[in-house]
Amino acid sequence: MEWVNAVVQGVLLGALYALLATGLSLVFGVMRMVNLAHGDLATLAAYLALVVVQATGVNPFLALPVVVPLMMVLGYLLQRLLLNRSIDHGPLSPLLITFGLSVIIQNVLLDVFSADSRGLDAGTLENESIHLTDQLAVGVFPLLTFVVAVVVLGGLGLILARTQLGRALRATSDDHTAARLVGIDHRHLYAVALAIALGTVAIAGIFLGIRTTFGPSDGPTRLISAFEAVIIGGLGSLWGTLIGGIVLGVAQALGNQVSPSFQLLAGHLVFLAILMFRPHGLFAPASARQT
């Protein structure tokens, strides 16, 4: 029964990984850029929420409407002012710059907040659980996280599929020069993509901060989790990222059952196995699998 419980926990955790991964996937899809500071931005969001909570005493959930828009503006400016210029300099440049940003963010957080572990306290919600059966209980908070993740992913999917903005993002991803010819300012759209990415990363970062404690150097672990979710699921598929996150979450949860110190390694091993046997991921669109 513990194993079933572990799987359920893994699924719920996995949805959070998927939410974390969404931004990484979107940015890569639209501008072929990998943001190495992605995980650190999630950590930054958690710290911003901490500041809001400490200043106003509100529940961390109420920090969301403050931190998420703030992070989105940050994302827009970051792309517009810094990263758009770096894309012109070749594929190495954005990697190096975002790596530099990662180091800067980690050390600024370390300076300002010290290395102590922090937590966001969502109150009794964190401890409540719903009993599905006599032996199977599901925490309310993990369930909420799952629902939020699916809703955000679904919402983003709808935006991409049905709105003019979504079409513009997809068109720019396909061919940014042709996009200019239909009147799209691709530099603006790149910035919008990063803004959306940072919005989702902020939500993920805050939920992670409620779920566990966090510290200034958590970024890299978050980045790796997001990355593995994207690769397991397959590049270019939003729902693939959800499945990828869930697979990763379940692998880690099962690893944790074996031994707590095996948790991360279990995730890495599953990732490497997928890389070996299905390098395009579980849900790569048909066009990718042909290469």
């Binding site: 997809r170 020069t177 799209i184």
Partner: protein, 232 residues
Amino acid sequence: MSLLEVEHVSSFYGDFQALYDVSLAVDAGETLAIIGANGAGKSTLLNVISGLFPNRGGAIRFEGRLIDRLPAHLRVEAGISLVPEGRRVFPSLTVRENLLIGAYRRRTGRWDVPAVLELFPLLAARSERRAAVLSGGEQQALAIGRALMANPRLLLLDEVSLGLAPVIVSQLYAAIPQIAAAGTTVLLVEQNIEQALAASKRVCCLLEGRIALSGRPADLSRDAIVTAYFGI
């Protein structure tokens, strides 16, 4: 005052000069064809007018207004639409979505999705298919339709016939008069001299980045055209 005035415009690829001091004017409502051999600078000229490439020296005026500094995406808003060489439809978007994104700048006019599908019936049957799976001719029709969705005052067509079977090319060119009749000025670039002469009211020939000949198709002799085209 002409709709489009290109005055003494030059353009470079790095150190290589592609256009030398080119001047031409396009009046509202007319259809002008630019012909020339490969590498003569025809596509470069369209790219400069549409804003994809910068011009060095000279001026470009549209509706009397200087547009040299205007970035490509804002020239679309101003009323210039380019159908690029090689079609460049958005492969992962459906036909309908390609048309919808064409209207990104929301210029008003008579062209909307139903109107475009009426102009190109072969697209109507495929409207939910992804553009990547269309044939060359269908993609070309889609590219033209996408440009029309911006309701341009000036439509630039770059090598519509490239890589397509003659019968498809004829079908596509049959649409040009309808587009022109709706009030759009058309500037088309063609390697296929027959089509160019048949479709246009006026013709210019580019040779190695310079205008070598200009006039109405009826007034130009075969020999004159050949000489200007090949530079012999």
